[in-house]
């Protein structure tokens, strides 16, 4: 069944969109990532104009994250205090990110920036996560111990001022690192058109030392606000949010997110991390190849923005 998207101005099979939404929604529920880092390139691939894809994807992530966070609220696995600090940084970062985005868009280099960001961040995080999680899985096999090992080293992070107690996470650390993580994630979220969960989740685990179970819910909580803010920015400046596309993606997405949350309760945290790291590395390699191999079409067309 073909459906015409009013803002994107293309006709797409509705079931394809529902399916894509569902698939990415499952990942969202399982890992606490918004899924934007997979969905945005997939939308480019099926012919949605990039500007519309990025903006609409932000709106869709709001829905799947909201659905996901409700499930986590019931399990009391959301650290609101940590989430609020992260999102304060996130909103600041998103605003900066949009300024950078518009500047590079004028230079015609925004595509390159997006791709380089993807390759760099997905590559580093994917490899680090893969090594760490494989090691964790092996350890739990050898000792037969299924609880994740908490090895809290005292690093520079613990010597910073403005210490706060985060009861849900069981941490007593400075508010500066989470705030900075929020800013970095916000900038990247605005530039890359993603929620930023795939960066924030590892940062929360490895930099802040938060327990894995709390990380997913807290990250979803923060993502709702940052992507909601991004949606409004895109809707008011670029007029590029396609509500019909968003509805189709989010119908699939919210159902997928619920399924994913259920699945994640049956899998061990270490196994989840191995799986996520493999997905991250695959997407990274794919994007890197596109930069390295000579493209079939060297030219690209961009319509000059209408002044309305």
């Amino acid at each position: 069944m073909l459906i015409y998207l009013p803002v994107a101005e293309v006709s797409i099979n509705a079931f394809l969109l529902l399916g894509l939404g569902g698939l990415v929604g499952i990942l969202s529920g399982m890992f606490g990532v918004g899924g934007g880092f997979l969905m945005t390139p997939l939308l480019f691939f099926i012919g949605i104009p990039p500007v519309v894809a990025v903006a609409t994807e932000a709106n869709q992530i709001v829905a799947s994250s909201f659905s996901g966070v409700l499930a986590h609220l019931r399990r009391k696995s959301v650290d609101f205090k940590m989430g609020t600090i992260l999102l304060t940084g996130g909103l600041l970062g998103a605003a900066c990110g949009v300024v950078i985005f518009n500047y590079l868009k004028a230079l015609g280099q925004v595509d390159l920036l997006i791709r380089l960001c993807y390759v760099a961040f997905l590559g580093i995080i994917g490899i680090l996560m893969f090594i760490e999680s494989v090691r964790a899985v092996r350890k739990s096999h050898i000792s037969g111990d299924t609880t994740p090992k908490k090895h809290r080293q005292r690093t520079w992070i613990h010597s910073l001022p403005i210490k706060m107690r985060f009861r849900t996470s069981g941490l007593y650390i400075s508010a500066i690192p989470p705030l900075l993580i929020g800013v970095v994630v916000g900038i990247l979220a605005a530039i890359m058109g993603v929620g930023g969960g795939f960066i924030m989740v590892p940062a929360m685990i490895y930099l802040l030392g938060m327990p894995t179970k709390v990380v997913v819910g807290t990250s979803l909580f923060q993502i709702i606000f940052v992507t909601g803010f991004t949606t409004l920015l895109h809707a008011t400046t670029n007029y590029s949010v396609d509500i019909v596309l968003a509805v189709l993606l989010l119908i699939g997405g919210v159902i997928g997110a619920q399924v994913g949350t259920q699945v994640s309760t049956y899998l061990k945290a270490e196994q989840l991390r191995v799986l996520l790291s493999v997905i991250v590395i695959v997407v990274c390699v794919q994007l890197a190849l596109e930069l390295l191999i000579m493209p079939a079409e060297l030219f690209s067309i961009e319509s000059v923005e209408h002044v309305r």
Partner: protein, 254 residues
């Protein structure tokens, strides 16, 4: 206005001279973009009205063009720098139609002379207005060629040789397939009569391509009330997220 007068003049004056002019019909002069829109076939047909007997020495040829609204474009070329492919050169194209189809009763280059193509801007290559390339870029032609190549691949530019059927040198018809990714606007439709490579008559009309119903409402809301539209999108997202969560919980409790 001058263009209108010019086209009227071009349309009427040769008709008086050669005594062959066009009577046109369209299967519809409106393309309505609805939710289920997936492209449209426009049937363009007509007849040649004449006050004199059919000239014996030459065959009548018919050319039909449909052009979407023109817009300026930036065309970029990638080159290899530091081992990766990046956009390095850019050329502005002043005006390129968002859609352009040209159908002819024969091979286009046989049907009209080059000079006529230049004057009336009939072929796809001529329909794109001159490229304003900076002096540093050689081969600016490559950039406008790229626009044609990319848009032909998306079926936005179509050259349809031998696609106009002409009966008895009087009746003609063609069907033009408009793809799903159309831009809204007035689609200028031109019909030319040619004999011996020279245009002898011209007729112009427009096909109105418009979004209607829900599509129209959403599109204009997104442009006129962007904040409201954005908030509405968010409200739908939150409601859908909550709805799915509540529905799944209900299913689980049962």
């Amino acid at each position: 206005m001058t263009r209108l007068i010019l086209s009227l003049w071009l349309g009427l004056f040769p008709a008086v001279l050669i005594a062959e002019s066009i009577v046109l019909g369209l299967s519809s002069d409106q393309v309505r973009i609805t939710t289920q829109f997936d492209g449209s076939d426009i049937l363009i047909f007509g007849a040649v009205k004449r006050e004199a007997p059919i000239p014996k020495n030459t065959e009548l040829d018919v050319i039909i063009t449909v052009a979407g609204p023109s817009e300026p474009l930036t065309v970029r070329r990638k080159s290899r720098q530091f081992g990766i492919w990046v956009n390095s050169e850019a050329v502005e194209v002043d005006a390129a139609p968002s859609f352009y189809a040209v159908a002819a009763s024969g091979k286009l280059e046989d049907v009209i002379k080059d000079i006529e193509d230049l004057r009336y801007k009939i072929s796809v290559e001529r329909a794109i207005r001159s490229v304003g390339a900076p002096m540093t870029i050689r081969n600016a032609q490559l950039f406008s060629d790229a626009v044609i190549r990319i848009r032909q691949r998306e079926n936005l530019y179509q050259q349809l040789d031998n696609q106009v059927a002409v009966d008895q040198q009087t009746l003609f018809r063609t069907a033009i397939r408009m793809p799903a990714n159309l831009t809204e606007g007035d689609y200028a439709t031109r019909i030319f009569l040619a004999r011996g490579g020279t245009i002898i008559s011209q007729y112009e009309t427009t096909i109105d391509v418009r979004k209607v119903g829900l599509e129209r409402w959403l599109f204009s809301l997104s442009r006129t009330q962007p904040l409201l539209y954005g908030l509405m999108s968010l409200a739908i997202a939150i409601a859908a997220g909550w709805g799915a969560s509540a529905a799944f919980r209900w299913v689980r409790i049962r």
